[in-house]
């Protein structure tokens, strides 16, 4: 009798081990080639690290995760190809990504047509919020804050500090232009006078002409919509020309990446106040793992994709598996609407009627080569009124 029981148990175990449920397939789309390739690299790194982390802990409710990557070249046409490849060829159940607003906008109609949930980790175009959710595109969700939300919050903060005038300096791409439009409106509301708006091409090295123009407009403050890699030459030349305005920035100027680039003279960045929703230090363990593996400071898009995976998609997968016993595209989409995470590194993640998560905005100050969190500002739809 005992022998039969043991045999049965052994057979049962062997059987269940062999008949393991297939892994859950998650697609990541970003700019893997072209001038914005650095963002895609970050996403790939972040996703790989996060997936390993999750699988090392046994996966999600026992199911492993498999990551697939596609290149959207930061263009809407390629985004369509990327989505279709992930959906049809790789058969993913959910997509995280696009990173760049043009690509997001191109991908949105396609995920709706296919019926594939997409959780956006970084696109900042306000239109995405308008188009998503109940009554619109029910398959797209966004974790990141968009320019409108951030602009109103930031402008209010600036007004509270007594700022009376400003000039905008923004990258000439979807990110910068969108921000410029948003801050224009936000400044009006906060009664800050906008003296001028300037655009520059990312990657171009010479800021002196535009700095000269800024000097002439003579605003009290400058709102810079700029990334760390451009921020470094910008701030150097800013100091070189002797400008003294207070710099408020939105992008990744106030970041570990920037400090790494100016490590020969960190005081170049002193006094800059950055508005963001991510910074190194929100999740020190993650930062450590990243730096150990990749030998550079954690990158924003990589960390955002990882956080989106761990604190938005994984909870949704858990809900779907618990409720329906399976995690396919439709159940994941429904589950995402029920996600209610209170304490992710970004703040609360709960998708409202427009499928937007209202995470925290963080104000960071740079001084003496250090980043310091000035204030954590929770956001909510009420801010926009």
């Amino acid at each position: 009798m005992r022998l039969a029981l043991t045999l049965a148990t052994v057979l049962l175990l062997a059987f269940s081990a062999g008949a393991q449920a297939p892994p859950i397939r998650i697609g990541f789309a970003s700019a893997m080639s072209g001038p914005a390739a650095i963002t895609g690299e970050g996403v790939r790194w972040g996703a790989t690290l996060a997936v390993e982390e999750i699988n090392a802990k046994g996966g999600v409710a026992g199911r492993k995760i498999e990551a697939f990557f596609a290149d959207n070249k930061a263009q809407p046409g390629e985004a369509v190809s990327a989505v279709r490849k992930l959906a049809d060829v790789d058969q993913v159940d959910v997509i995280i990504g696009q990173t760049h607003s043009g690509a997001c906008l191109g991908a949105m109609p396609v995920v709706k047509e296919i019926g594939l949930p997409m959780v956006i980790e970084a696109c900042s175009h306000p239109k995405i919020r308008e188009l998503s959710g109940k009554g619109g595109n029910e398959w797209t969700f966004r974790v990141a804050l968009d320019d409108e939300i951030m602009a109103y919050t930031f402008a209010r903060y600036m007004a509270r500090q007594g700022v009376k005038s400003s000039s905008i300096l923004a990258m000439n791409n979807d990110f910068g232009r969108g921000a410029a439009v948003a801050y224009d409106a936000a400044f009006k509301k906060a009664k800050i006078q906008l003296l001028s708006t300037e655009f520059f091409d990312p990657g171009q090295p010479d800021y002196r002409p535009v700095l000269t123009r800024l000097k002439r407009a003579n605003p009290e403050t400058i709102l810079a919509v700029i990334l760390a890699s451009d921020g470094a030459p910008f701030m150097r030349q800013f100091r070189e020309l002797g400008l003294t305005q207070k710099v408020f920035s939105r992008g990744s100027l106030g970041s570990a990446e920037f400090l790494h680039q100016v490590r020969d003279n960190p005081k170049v960045g002193d006094g800059v106040v950055e508005a963001s929703y991510w910074i190194t230090g929100l999740d020190p363990e993650w930062d450590k793992k990243w730096t150990e593996r990749y030998k550079v400071p954690p990158r924003i898009h990589g960390s955002l994709s990882a956080i989106t995976l761990k604190w938005a998609v994984v909870p949704a997968l858990e809900i779907a598996l618990k409720k329906h016993g399976k995690a396919d595209r439709k159940t994941i989409r429904d589950a995402l609407e029920e996600v209610d995470v209170k304490d992710s590194p970004l703040g609360p993640i709960k998708f409202d009627a427009n499928h937007q998560a209202w995470i925290n905005m963080i104000l960071i100050e740079m001084r003496d080569g250090q980043l310091r969190i000035l204030e954590k500002l929770p956001t909510s739809p009420a801010l926009l009124n």
């Binding site: 300037e198 990657g203 890699s229 470094a232 100091r239 070189e240």
Partner: protein, 273 residues
Amino acid sequence: MYAMVAAGLALMLGVARLINFAHGEFFMLGAYAFWFGYSELGLPYALAALLAPAVMVLFGIAYQHSVIRAILPRSWHVQLIATLATSIVLTNLAIIVLGTQPKEVPTVLSSRILDVGGLRVAWQRLLVLAASLVIFWGLHRFVARTRTGKAMRAMSQNREACAVVGVDVQRVAMVTFALSAALAAAAAALVSPLFNIFPDMGTTLTLKAFAAVVAGGFGYVNGAIAASFLIGLTEALAGSYVSYAYKDAIAFLVMIAVLLWRPQGLFGRRIGI
């Protein structure tokens, strides 16, 4: 900076009748070579700055032996496409090998600022100006005085005659090439401390240098130099006074206007250096 790059391009065009669309990549690779010497090997600035042209000379020679020799006798369309292809290969290999993260090479001179009565300028910029003048003067002397230089001028005027007279056409072409690469690399070593280094940096540069070369009178080095200064100046002025975003477009439009006004280029289709 534009001038040095354009000069190199013009040299090749005038002497060897070669269009090299990968020229911007010489600049980019030179910048990386400089970065490698300065940041990774820890060489002092001057040494690293000399390392870059040295490396690029070797690269230029290798490039000439492999690719250029094959396309030299072909039509300029073929040359354009072939060198464009090379440019694509080099840029993307750079992304793969060197990574997308831009490199910074701040030097002592780029951080220190000279303040003269309200006009503030980083010392490095003065170095760029001074060095370019020295280099151009050196180039002029080389071309005017040395045998190889004279051979280069002769070749740009009449290639077949040169071969007849006994000039070693291949060798002169190789020297021209090496010189061209060195010029680009020197420019890179000089300006890298001011800006970032990244794999894509060569592409716009090639376009502008090409425009300068054509506007300056196709193959006429001094013309190319003059045209590049014109481009640089227009950009700076347009950027400061008109509109920063449109400055590239304005500079190009000015170039086109110049070409329309004088279709032979600023100084006419002069052959020679």
